[in-house]
Amino acid sequence: METTRTERSYAREFLKSRSGVAGLAILIILLATSIYVVAGIPSSLNTKWENSKAWEGNPQAAPPVWVNYLGVDAPQTLDVNLDKFTGTSGSSSAYSSTQTFTWNNDVPPSNLVLTPNFGGAAYELDVIWTKPDGNVVQIALSFPTSGTEYDIHTAAVSQSLTKYIQSQTGTFVTVVTPNGELAALFSNDGPRLLNNSVQKGTYSVTLQILGDQTLSPSSSQVSLVGDSYGTMGTDSYGRPIDLGVLAGLPWALELGTIASVLSVVGGILWGGLAGFYGGWRDKVMSWGTLVILAVPGISFIIALSFSVQLSLLVEALVIAALSWPGFAIIARTVTLSIRSQTYIEADRAMGISSTRTFLTHVLPRLTPVTIAFTALSVSGVIIFAETLAFLGIEPGNVITWGGILNEAITADSSLHGWWWWTLFPGIMILVASLPFVLIGFAVDRIVAPRVSAK
């Protein structure tokens, strides 16, 4: 007796396949994550992403925070918030706020960013930095602007610190690197200040604002920029990779789904009809399949992108228009084998229209194949689109994993050992394609058209 199966038994068999169920589980997680991303991450991120200024507060090319657990000492960013100000107001006003923090890393942070907020015009801002051993470093800024970020590169900051280094080492220093300046803030004091180890313990920061009018100082911040950031590190602009990786997910899934549904359904119908019609129509349609097969998709879209403005929909359409031939070839083979069955002729003998024959005999046999291919094809499209993005072809204003990888190779990330920059977006491509591949293979094994080529 033949083994032919019903829709319900397909579903049952699928649920028995371990990889298929695993794929389904991953897919559900991915979908949930996408919903979270769409709902939770503002779309302004896309424009912010391209603005390198916006990310200066983050450590640049920093590894993920968890490398600390692997024995690498890479401090995280520590924000010291100063919001409770005390002091006098009036024509001569002075405000101050003090906060303590603990530093237990062996190395100093990679930057110090001071963001004062006082509303109005002040004529001086002082940072009084007390180390655990009691030594005090003072940084003075004249005529500060409220809300501006002052970091270690700011001339006034640099000058104050140079002065302190001279006071400790007793020698006259002209050029101090930012590393040296940060070391000065954190090292054990003494003549070998710049080469001493970091003092661990409680530091205290006091912010003093002097003005000749009444000011309203509020949440100011001294940010000790770490050498590690987030779960996936940052790129050379300081953009967090994890954010980019998350933001790229909905785009990939959406594009993958639209393009693969279009190309698979189109290809299956094209090939199915070609095989079903036979004769000259088959010849012409198969030749048409060959024409599209002979177009190198990647280069074609690259060239096209210089004539047409890409958007998600346009890109999906173009990818679909170029990737259906494979499915058409297989659908044609399946249909040819169905067409050789006598029941097709029997239908004709009974006066059943060929449209109905196609719908009752051919389409049901193609449906499971279509499902398998759609699933498999989503991963194909995702990889295809990310490959294009990697080459620099993507719609404007989107964050893509391929785009992140493109920047990684341009920045020679491998050479610098910034492995996190390439590892995570790549893994994300894998993770996004994997469920579709697993589901596709599971369905394919069940429906097993055992298509022998030609």
Binding site: Y343, M350, I352
Partner: protein, 332 residues
Amino acid sequence: MPAGSTEAGPGVVLRAQDVRVYFSKKGFLEKGTVVKAVDGVTLSVRRGEILALVGESGSGKTTLGRAAIGLVRPSSGTIILNDGAEQEVGRARGRQWKALRKRLQMIFQDPFSSIDPNMRVYDALRIPLAAQGVRRREDVRARISDVMKRVGLPEQIINNYVFQLSGGQRQRIGIARVLIFDPVLVVADEPVSMLDASLKGDILHIIQNESRTNNVAFLFITHDMAVARVIADRIAVMYLGQVDEIGAAEATVLDPLHPYTKAMLQASPVIDTSLKDKIKKVNIIGELPQSTAHPSGCKFHPRCPYAMDVCKEQVPALKEVKPEHYVACWLY
């Protein structure tokens, strides 16, 4: 005009007149070769009769059968359906062609591939009805249950999938799909050759019964003389696209005229244990020629032990040698 066509009386439901079906096998940059599947056949089928069309593979019997009901368009010649009014089958198109489908039907050889195994029995019977405009639920139900009774299928299998059924049951459904239209003529293309011996009898009985009680005419295609004798009223023997001999079943089997018919009968096995140490003689020479290179004159002459000069040059016509027994051979 060759005999066999003279019987265009009121009892004749289908008349084929000098029908030829040529297939051109034309490839790219290639001179087309022509396969003469049916090459000038004239015969008629009477109402309620079972006419067996016997021949080897390549004799054109299946093509003739398909042409008779309009599934293959003849290259030349006419096929007339006489069901009240005369109608040309070979040229029917569109609506006319579709209307013919109710009256001219076909049973196929392979019960496993002639019905989509993924269908339910009910749908396998309902869809043909729907195609012919029978859509009312009660009508459909009534006709399905009637026809299932006629072919001896239990009603409870109606919701089963076809793939769950045995070969014998599938062939019954194949017959039921045909009988549901109450056709005038059914071409049965080797309907029992793929069935086990224990099932053949029952299927043949259904066909015989339909021809006798419901006046359905059958063009019964078979390669097996024994089956033809059991089922048919008349037998027509085909060789390379032509009818060599046509006559009553008994007469054709017991007293064959054409050398080819004789050879076929000699070759057919019988229950006879005395033959076991003997080499069986069959009066025939060589093998069937290629489908594209038919011999001149009588097509059988290169294989005929009695071939004469005239056979090589001239095509013999069907002659009524005995009453109702026609043969195309220069020996007569």
